[in-house]
């Protein structure tokens, strides 16, 4: 169940980076959760397409086996980590850019 493990690590790393490395505190902002909530149904839609047509196939030994919209439940963790990391990095680089143009 290595996919399960890595997916959980990815969420943990994204949260730690958001709070302590990039210091963007996205997970404390309402706008972040609103954005995530809006993207989630689209993730489920694309997951359903990719898995129901067997475009992507997962090894049964690397997942816990519970599925949502056709895809392993682990995909939710992967998706969350990528959305959080993206918005956290975006805010980080935006702030960095603002600071450098002010000087």
């Amino acid at each position: 169940m290595i996919y399960s493990d890595i997916a959980m690590d990815a969420v943990l790393l994204a949260v730690l980076a958001d709070l302590f490395v990039l210091r963007t505190q996205m997970i404390t902002r309402g706008i972040f959760w609103l954005t995530y909530g809006l993207i989630l149904p689209f993730q489920l839609l694309t997951n359903w397409w990719l898995t129901s047509k067997n475009i992507v196939m997962y090894s049964a030994t690397e997942i816990i086996g519970r599925r949502l919209a056709g895809a392993p439940i682990e995909d939710l963790l992967f998706g969350f980590s990528m959305i959080l990391a993206t918005l956290s990095l975006w805010e980080f680089f935006l702030a960095l850019n603002r600071r450098s143009t002010k000087k």
Partner: protein
């Protein structure tokens, strides 16, 4: 046409991205440097994970439903485009909601 089954998902996301960018007048192209920096990190991390996962048989792709252009020998080009388009769509969704929040008072951002 089956070879475009994965690509169809990418086309769908790309159409949404263009629509949201234009509809909300977000002018994302003005922020290309910020997006490039953001996506460079995402691409590095998630393609590394993807390549490793394919090599270790965590998942695989149906060779009949992808265009069969592979990077590093094993990574379908669709995956690379996915890691560009999804972060782009994520940022656009975020910016659109921020704009809505600013327009209709009661900002959702602190």
């Amino acid at each position: 046409m089956a070879k475009f089954h994965y690509a169809l998902v990418l086309l769908f996301i790309a159409v949404c991205a263009v629509g949201v960018n234009a509809g909300f007048r977000l002018k994302i192209s003005r922020h290309w440097r910020i997006f490039l920096a953001t996506d460079a990190v995402i691409l590095a991390l998630y393609t590394a994970w993807d390549v490793w996962a394919i090599e270790n048989h965590n998942w695989r792709f149906d060779s009949k439903q992808i265009v069969r252009i592979n990077l590093f020998g094993i990574l379908p080009i669709e995956e690379i485009l996915f890691f560009i388009l999804v972060p782009l769509m994520t940022v656009l969704t975020y910016l659109a909601l921020k704009k809505l929040g600013a327009k209709y008072g009661r900002s959702v951002a602190p």
